[in-house]
Symmetry: C2
Subunit: 190 residues, 2 copies
């Protein structure tokens, strides 16, 4: 039996990443985002939805750059803090959370050092949709802590231990049990 | 020590959903997508990246509608099959996979019955990015199997048991351990 839940922008699960930018005076800032996705293979692009009232909204437009930082499960409290507190109210929220930054290798945005993976993006599109704008960044570099990368250059998902956001329930989860390899387990049916 | 992995459209983790549409003759079709996200609160919108060569690309543009269907972990093999086989080559791939459909309540697209949650979308934007187009749909209805919804109308993430896509490793995972509630666990720091 199906229930109608009404219109809401639901995808399950979501990631929980930190989008980092520089304020106009060069202070590193970040927001927590679950509304983010890869969106093109060539050129390689990712997108993130940002509410217009956010400082990140202003920052991305001004510097035309941002980074997406993948957090590990042990950072759940920090990620949540960055999502609760506005950069408008707490100027140095990253410093208060003990999240050190460094300058990205290529783009004009900071990386969050404790995040094992940082994706450097150059703004290529800003699509206004209503309360949110969908910012598309061309990925120009991905940096990863060597501890989460195998010898073959693959991200070891258990070493990374990424946050998973359980939409609707509003809960952070870890990554779960292995269910099989993509482009492989379905071959038996084809 | 950080490694540079080069430019790739990496977000970790991703969902693994089925995007369902009607072919020009009314045959239900679907593709597997990991590149999907919520992208606006009001109006409620979700987006999905579709390669231009896909039948889904033609179908979304023709009917200006699609559904996003959230699969449970027990459907991993089916989800992978739908991702491997093209609707151009196998006309009735959903039927072959044993995935029955029904007409969506509001939009001109099918729902996949075995998926516990289906999100009905009306196309509002198509943003060409290169190999892929980012289709934005306004969500007009969400239908969920009552077995995955609590009395409060919240999706029970353990009952749903959604697929999680581990990017880079290319592996399907289940949902993992609880790490805390969003907008709550970070309050202690603020």
């Amino acid at each position: 039996m199906r229930k109608r839940l009404g219109a809401s922008p639901m995808i399950i699960p979501m990631p929980a990443v930190l989008v980092a930018t520089y304020d106009d005076d060069g202070t590193p800032n970040a927001m927590t985002a679950a509304w983010a996705s890869a969106c093109c293979h060539t050129p390689p692009c990712v997108g993130v939805a940002v509410r217009d009232s956010r400082r990140t909204f202003t920052n991305i437009r001004a510097r035309r750059a941002f980074t997406i930082n993948i957090a590990s499960a042990e950072m759940a409290v920090d990620v949540d803090y960055v999502g609760i507190v506005s950069g408008h109210q707490v100027k140095d929220k990253l410093a208060r959370a003990g999240l050190a930054t460094e300058r990205a290798a290529v783009v004009d945005a900071p990386l969050i050092e404790r995040c094992p993976i940082s994706i450097e993006c150059r703004l290529v599109h800003a699509l206004p949709l209503g309360t949110h704008t969908w910012f598309v960044g061309e990925v120009v570099e991905v940096q990863a802590d060597e501890r989460v990368v195998t010898a073959e250059g693959i991200v070891d998902i258990d070493a990374l231990d990424p946050l998973v956001y359980a939409t609707s329930a509003g809960e952070y989860r870890g990554i779960g049990r292995a269910l099989g390899r993509a482009y492989r387990i379905g071959k038996g049916r084809a």
